[in-house]
């Protein structure tokens, strides 16, 4: 891992997690700088999602340290720096796409100068503003959550299988979004099985082994 003069956006030292005394992953050491993407690869069940949940602060690590912008990750620091895209879309079926996104922006804040309608345009969901989320397909829901991500002010994206459920066009969309986000000084952690095209940006790889 390279050492830079400035603190990396996210760094982990000796990070390990165990479930019922069974080690899931770790100890891991890695760092992600602004303008970089870290691809977390590995087969099913090696702990990719668990790693992301630990980094997001949803799970507590058993050992090691997570540093956000050079400081030990406190809940407040994490909440401002991290946007997490998980398997669950966090959309309410009875509410329209626009209402869902308005609520999520009320919860997470909104990047300055970003409009919800524009984000839907980018993710190819323009015209679905007033559709109830329950009527959307899995891929369309994914696109709405991508719009939520795009609106988030957080510099660090934790993306758990962002390519799942998406068509080729959607995969390109994710890659374009990651590229644009990195150009703006953000960073991204992306988990994949390894079968998809990686975003055309400066990437590091983290291969999780199969001992789990």
């Amino acid at each position: 891992m390279t050492d830079t003069a400035h603190a990396p956006l996210l760094a982990a030292h000796g990070l390990a997690f165990a479930r019922n005394e069974e080690p899931v992953f770790g100890p891991l050491d890695f760092a992600v700088d602004a303008g970089e993407a870290l691809l977390v690869q590995g087969g099913n069940g090696v702990g990719k999602t668990t790693l992301l949940r630990v980094l997001a602060g949803l799970l507590r690590a058993d050992a090691g340290q997570v540093l956000v912008q050079g400081k030990p990750a406190s809940p407040e620091l994490r909440a401002r720096a991290v946007a997490y895209l998980g398997h669950l879309p966090a959309l309410k079926g009875e509410l329209t796409v626009l209402e869902n996104l308005r609520f999520l922006c009320g919860l997470h804040g909104r990047r300055e100068g970003q409009q919800i309608e524009a984000a839907l345009e980018i993710t190819g969901m323009a015209g679905y503003e007033d559709a109830p989320a329950r009527q959307l397909s899995a891929g369309q829901k994914k696109r709405v959550t991508l719009a939520r991500l795009w609106l988030s002010p957080a510099p660090l994206w934790l993306l758990d299988e962002p390519y799942a459920n998406l068509d080729l066009d959607g995969i390109n969309l994710v890659n374009r979004m990651i590229s644009a986000h990195l150009r703006d000084g953000g960073a991204a952690l992306v988990t994949t099985h390894g079968a998809y095209a990686a975003p055309p940006v400066r990437t590091r790889m983290l291969l999780l082994g199969g001992q789990a």
């Binding site: 507590r60 309410k92 009320g106 997470h108």
Partner: protein, 229 residues
Amino acid sequence: MSAAPGLRQSARALLLRDLRLVWRRRGDALQPALFALLVVVMFALAMGGGREILRDHVAPYAIWVAVLLAGLLSLDSLFRGDAEDGSLEQWLLAPLPLPWLVAVRTFGHWLTTTVPLLLVVPVLGEFLYLPRAQLPVLMLTLLLGTPILSLLGAVVAALTVGLKRSGILVALLALPLYVPVLVFGAGSVAAAAQGLDPTGALLLMGAGLVASAVLAPLAAAAAIRIAQG
């Protein structure tokens, strides 16, 4: 770089969302009120319309029990929907204190499930020949007591949100916590009916409301953190 959401802004967004959701499922929203109505009607039928017995010995207690059980019925939905669709994850990750979001959600839940129930209480009172003079005291105890029930229930609902199906467990955990509220609530109505001053019991309930409004969201938030881990 960002406009971080404030406490009031987030509370508004969350309440607006809950009200919209209830409006879209307004059939379900009437369920607690209908349930309470059913319990009270059954009570009146089972007692065979003994007017004096109903008025003096049954009315305030039956109404209190009906309201309490109806609240218990809707308790499981407090966090379960949000847990299942991943909303709770996003709450945990939001740059806002989780106890605040829990408190707002609980208030929204009280507003949408219990307030419709309180609106039918005068009707329930008529079914059971509740003397009209007792209605204000009864309403006051319910207004003070039902938020306590919701707040205590929020802790129980948060504790069981990690389970696939909580069913009977919610009731088992919540009922012992509900007993003191029920005793003071129904008791102060009874005291007022006998011409005694219910102020002491009402003040105690007010104190209970303040204490639970402060402490219950903290406990519920801690339970949600554990359940989501």
